[in-house]
């Protein structure tokens, strides 16, 4: 058998047989290995589509039986944030596809930077998502059993956004320290990994800032004129004041005879819905159960994708990918595009209901 002049990775085993380290024993050649891997990934994507379809059917069923609930509840969803998240995810699909191209052309630096951009877009998506979720938690819009109807005076304590930002902040500090350490030690390999991770962690906060900025401008927000939950603000007391302002409205609305403040949350009569019983756990609460389930499971898939992309960055930093071995990048790309595919359907179904 002839030699192959494709390099093996730095820590390749010293095989006594004649195939390179990146070609597994049970494959005849690189193309067969690639095709087999791809088929496996497409089969996995089939299971993912069926997995999500369960939730889509639940959505369709509930919406067909109670369309008025969806019209009512959709006003709590910020279509602007949803659209931005859609754009961010579409861009991440572009960078992921570009990363696959770079792997196929053995363009290592472009590959790493494209994977880094995909990771950063994912982090930004999660940042916007964090703002969306915490905003809803502040308003008591929880899944069915925990749904707080308007006027119930049980405030939800805690500045949720700050709590959600803590893990990201810890990671950002850790990655920054690692990056500086690698910079000082002039370790190119570690720089190529720590850099993207640091940028991604910072992009999470960029997403949070963007979300806070846009959420505060929404007309249905109750009394948070100032950007609330700004974790970067030095006075955490400030954000608590704004947060309790929301709670004050809730409390005020629950006192009988009290006139509703101008920016009150939702008055079913003002929305024009006849049935006031929509705003009950059995109706709107179920909508939010469906909403949290679908977007939450989707977000878990994003997290998983981020972990795998990080793994790819490490491998790419080791120069493991080239024009005859790019299967992992291609297959992770397929998974990532599926995550985008799911969101393309989630966005109009949840956010753009009229």
């Amino acid at each position: 058998m002839s030699d192959i002049s494709i390099p093996t990775s730095g820590q390749a085993d010293d095989h006594s047989h004649d195939h390179p380290a990146w070609l597994a024993h049970h494959f005849d050649d690189a193309e067969q290995q690639f095709d087999s891997g791809k088929l496996g990934m497409w089969l996995f994507l089939v299971t993912e589509v069926l997995f999500f379809s369960g939730m889509f059917v639940a959505y369709a069923l509930f919406r067909s039986l109670h369309p008025e609930v969806f019209v009512y509840a959709s006003q709590f969803l910020n279509a602007k944030l949803g659209a931005i998240n859609t754009g961010v995810l579409l861009f991440s699909s572009l960078t992921m596809a570009w990363a696959v191209r770079a792997a196929q052309l053995s363009q290592q630096k472009i590959l790493v930077s494209m994977l880094a951009m995909t990771l950063s877009c994912a982090a930004m998506f999660l940042g916007v998502k964090a703002v969306e979720y915490t905003h809803k938690w502040d308003l008591g819009l929880l899944p069915a059993g925990m749904y707080v109807t308007q006027g119930i005076a049980e405030p939800l304590h805690g500045n949720w956004l700050q709590i959600l930002c803590i893990p990201a902040a810890v990671l950002a500090v850790a990655f920054a320290a690692w990056y500086l350490f690698a910079l000082v030690g002039r370790n190119q390999f570690q720089l190529q990994i720590a850099g993207p991770l640091l940028v991604a962690a910072l992009c999470f906060f960029a997403g949070v800032q963007l979300g806070v900025f846009l959420e505060s401008g929404e007309s249905h927000g109750a009394g948070h004129g100032a950007a609330h939950g700004d974790h970067h603000s030095d006075a955490s007391g400030h954000s608590h004041d704004v947060h309790s302002g929301v709670v004050d409205h809730l409390v005020a609305a629950s006192i009988p005879g009290q006139a509703f403040p101008n920016e009150v949350l939702v008055d079913p009569k003002r929305v024009g819905i006849d049935q006031p019983d929509i705003n009950q756990r059995g109706r709107a609460g179920v909508f939010f159960g469906i909403y949290y389930m679908m977007t939450g499971v989707h977000a878990v898939h994003i997290l998983g994708g981020m972990a795998v992309i990080t793994w790819l960055i490490v491998k790419a930093a080791r120069h493991e990918f080239h024009s005859k071995y790019f299967g992992p990048v291609d297959n992770v790309g397929l998974y990532w595009h599926l995550v985008d595919f799911i969101w393309i359907f989630l966005f109009p179904l949840l956010y753009l209901i009229r």
């Binding site: 494709i6 050649d29 859609t86 696959v100 024009s323 005859k324 109009p348």
Partner: protein, 149 residues
């Protein structure tokens, strides 16, 4: 140092001559132009779908929305996921999953809509109210006591 050269492969790939893309015999690197044009088309369709949601087109809304979403999804699948140039077997697998989702959705919705009109909907609000006072006792006591006149 870049190790990008490929001299030969172990097995002469009969498919190799037919492809001729890039360096490797089987790699199909996507063109940057294609990637960006698909991306901008997707962005434009997103803007379109947000815009059409601000209009009031009644019952057609869901069909238009889903139609645009299907076009966007199709672009992602065919171009970003490269299915247009991929082996047909992968496309068959993926399409079959979509068909099964269609069956799942269709049958479930048909079934639910079929018996919906016969289901008594108990209002959650109603259910939380105290029960109405019991009606007057039935005329059973009158049967045991003989009316005097």
């Amino acid at each position: 140092m870049s190790h990008t050269t490929v001299d030969s492969s172990v097995h002469v790939d009969s498919h190799g001559d037919a492809h001729g893309h890039g360096d490797g015999e089987f790699a199909h690197p996507a063109s940057i132009t294609m990637l960006f044009s698909v991306f901008f088309t997707l962005l434009a369709l997103t803007i379109l779908t947000v815009w059409q949601s601000t209009l009031d087109i009644g019952a057609a809304e869901i069909w238009v929305t889903m139609g645009i979403a299907t076009v966007k999804a199709g672009l992602v699948i065919l171009f970003f996921m490269h299915l247009l140039w991929d082996k047909p077997l992968n496309a068959i697998f993926f399409l079959s999953s979509i068909i099964f989702v269609g069956l799942f959705l269709g049958f479930t919705l048909t079934d639910a809509q079929g018996y919906h009109s016969t289901v008594e909907i108990k209002d959650t609000l109603e259910a939380s109210l105290p029960p109405a006072p019991a009606p007057a006792p039935a005329p059973a006591p009158a049967m045991t006591s003989t009316p005097t006149t």
